[in-house]
């Protein structure tokens, strides 16, 4: 058999390769490059191996930021996913003006630039002029996110839930709308309760969109930067310094490019690992597949 090889076909994938190279591979390799060198200036650099990784992993500030970050993302998922599903269930099932109105109102927070969201919440929660801050303080509860760590956390969580729950609700609503009417009719004939309809029809049929929602919300909340940076700047103290805020302090504030690069790679691997775990679990839970 004489096979002829025509390698010109590779040129067809060249554009994609170039785009991916410039958008992902080259920047990532640059970071790897920085993470194993100590750079003093152009032409003045030394190979240090895994030294930066060791230093970063011993950094207690980073440990604190990491646990803070897990707590934050965990709360985000625990609040936003059930709340988003609940909102989607309450939305009108048939399309009409009511559904359109609900969709527009829901989508509003998603249309606002992220740093503007931080600014909105600074003003909204200010004890002297902010609607929420003033109201809560007038009710006799002292509330100031610039002074009390707990108040700062509550404000950041409120802002995050307000900002991103609509996305979960929209995804869940899309999932609900895709369920054929026959399922609801069959459930009525089978005498199923509302809970059974939710548990055995709606929830399983939302598996796909909820997987996407969990992944998006986990990744986004784990990488959150702009909104808390504008709102609290990571304070008071370090109480709302999340991983990316800490990272920016090292990289831009102290200009420690080596440790910052090492930190970035660890950060990336954590996000990748957890996204993979979530995806695997959500694809299999309740399906009886055990692989």
């Amino acid at each position: 058999m004489n096979k002829t090889y025509d390698n010109r076909a590779w040129f067809l994938v060249l554009p994609v390769f170039l785009v991916v190279a410039f958008s992902a591979i080259i920047p990532l390799v640059t970071v790897v490059n920085y993470s194993v060198q100590d750079i003093f200036g152009p032409g003045e650099r030394y190979f240090v191996g895994l030294e930066w990784f060791r230093e970063v992993l011993r950094d207690t500030r980073l440990h604190e930021a990491l646990w803070r970050q897990f707590l934050f993302s965990g709360l985000v998922l625990l609040i936003e996913i059930p709340l988003g599903v609940a909102i989607a269930l309450m939305m009108p099932r048939r399309s009409g003006w009511a559904a359109s109105l609900a969709l527009v109102l829901l989508a509003l927070p998603l249309l606002i630039p992220w740093n503007v969201i931080g600014t909105i919440w600074i003003i909204f929660t200010r004890p002297d002029i902010g609607l929420l801050g003033y109201a809560v303080n007038s009710a006799g509860i002292p509330f100031d996110h610039t002074a009390a760590p707990l108040d700062a956390w509550i404000t950041v969580m409120l802002m995050e839930v307000w900002h991103w729950t609509p996305l979960v609700a929209l995804l869940a609503y899309a999932g609900l709308r895709a369920i054929p009417e026959a399922y609801y009719q069959a459930a009525r004939i089978d005498g199923a309760s509302d809970w059974a309809v939710f548990r055995y029809i709606q929830l399983p049929k939302m598996r796909g969109v909820l997987t996407i929602a969990v992944l998006l919300r986990f990744m986004d909340s784990f990488l959150i930067y702009a909104e808390p940076f504008v709102l609290t700047g990571g304070g008071p103290g370090n109480s709302t310094t999340f991983l990316s805020i800490h990272l920016v302090k090292i990289a831009v504030g102290q200009f420690d490019l080596g440790p910052a690069a090492a930190f970035s790679i660890i950060y990336f691997l954590i996000v990748l690992l957890f996204s993979w775990v979530f995806y695997q679990v959500l694809q299999r839970v309740g399906t009886g597949d055990r692989r």
Binding site: P180, G191, A192, Y200, T287
Partner: protein
């Protein structure tokens, strides 16, 4: 089991119906015998599914009442009607096993678990699902899923009727036949009332004892497959049932028969008399199967031109022209097809007269 009766039943999906044309179901009275196997036949959009959903209570009729065994159930919700329904696309509960799927209607009604187990196993046996009971329902084939949908109806001991809404649409052709036979078996052994919606006449004619033909929200005819075939009550039924459909020829009535473009067609005197009383526009209706083509003229058979011949395996369909009117004639396989022209013979017993589209005799 139950006898289902409609009294002056009508339904419209509009909030402000202006007239009868806005009604998806025109006012009707209809009785479904206890233990009967009915097929509801009609083109898409004729109101079949609406009618089914009214029986199962998924829809509230705009007007009229529904009775099960003489009890008015019009206001009763679906869950209390003891109706099972199988939909066009199999509805299964993805995350459950086959067993749990079949047990679902019983568990919702708080049936004790030992009885659930007994019933589910009996029904699974009947549907040949016994081997799959422990499997997840998700990975099964379409026909197995459709059997599960049917099984969820059969597990309930109190079921009055099982409604099928084009249940074989997504099933492979070679499995359709097996599944249909299974349905017939179940019908014979359990004696349930079955109502089977379809737009496929083969399915309707092979499945049912009685076929109900619907068109545009009305029941046009209800009868055995033979009745539908030999004496369609309405022109639409003649067209819709049979392949190809019935031939219709505009005619004028004479003393001893009808005349089509100068050709005389014999009719019994009582039919002619009834036709005169009915009045209106007359047509002769005759099935392609009730016509013959002869090479020699006999008994004044008219000469027709043959325009086309279609080979359909074990028979042929000839398209001929009688005067200005096109006709289809079914030729048996063994007959040598005549060329160009032949003589057309009618079977008097199967030649029908219609006035304004309605059967006279």
């Amino acid at each position: 089991m139950a006898r289902i009766e409609f009294k002056q039943l009508a339904h419209t999906y509009r909030a402000d119906p202006r007239g009868l044309e806005d009604y998806a179901l025109k006012p009707m009275n209809q009785v479904w015998r206890d233990g009967g196997a009915y097929a509801l036949l009609g083109p898409s959009g004729c109101g079949k599914t609406t009618l089914l959903n009214i029986i199962s209570g998924l829809l509230q009729p705009t007007a009229g009442r529904v009775y099960f065994d003489g009890v008015d159930v019009t206001e009763r919700p679906t869950a209390q009607r003891n109706i099972a329904q199988v939909f066009q696309f199999p509805v299964i509960y993805d995350t459950m096993t086959v067993f749990d799927n079949l047990a679902f209607p019983l568990r919702n009604r708080r049936v004790p678990e030992p009885e659930v187990k007994r019933t589910v196993e009996r029904v699974a046996e009947m549907l040949e699902l016994g081997a799959e009971l422990r499997r997840r329902a998700r990975g099964l084939s379409a026909d197995a899923k459709q059997k599960i949908s049917l099984g969820r109806g059969l597990v309930r001991s109190d079921v009055a009727a099982i409604l099928f809404d084009e249940p074989l649409t997504v099933i492979d052709p070679h499995l359709k036949w097996t599944l249909r036979r299974k349905l017939k078996q179940i019908h014979q052994s359990l004696g349930l009332t079955l109502i089977y919606v379809t737009h496929d006449q083969t399915e309707a004619l092979t499945f049912a004892d009685e076929v109900v033909v619907m068109h545009d929200g009305r029941v046009l005819q209800s009868g055995t497959p033979q009745e539908l075939f030999e004496a369609p009550a309405h022109k639409f039924v003649g067209h819709f049932v049979g392949s190809p459909g019935m031939n219709f020829l505009p005619c004028v009535l004479e003393a001893d028969g009808a005349r089509v473009d100068g050709v005389r067609i014999a009719l019994p005197p009582d039919v002619v008399a009834k036709g005169r009383r009915a009045g209106g526009r007359f047509e002769i209706g005759v099935r392609p199967e009730a016509l013959r083509l002869e090479a020699e003229p006999r008994n004044g058979a008219p000469r027709v031109r043959i325009e086309a011949l279609a080979e359909l395996g074990h028979y042929r369909i000839a398209a001929v022209r009688l005067g200005t009117h096109p006709l289809k004639v079914k030729l048996p396989e063994e007959q040598e097809p005549p060329r160009d022209a032949a003589y057309l013979c009618f079977t008097p017993a199967l030649t029908r007269l219609y006035a304004d589209g309605v059967l006279v005799g």
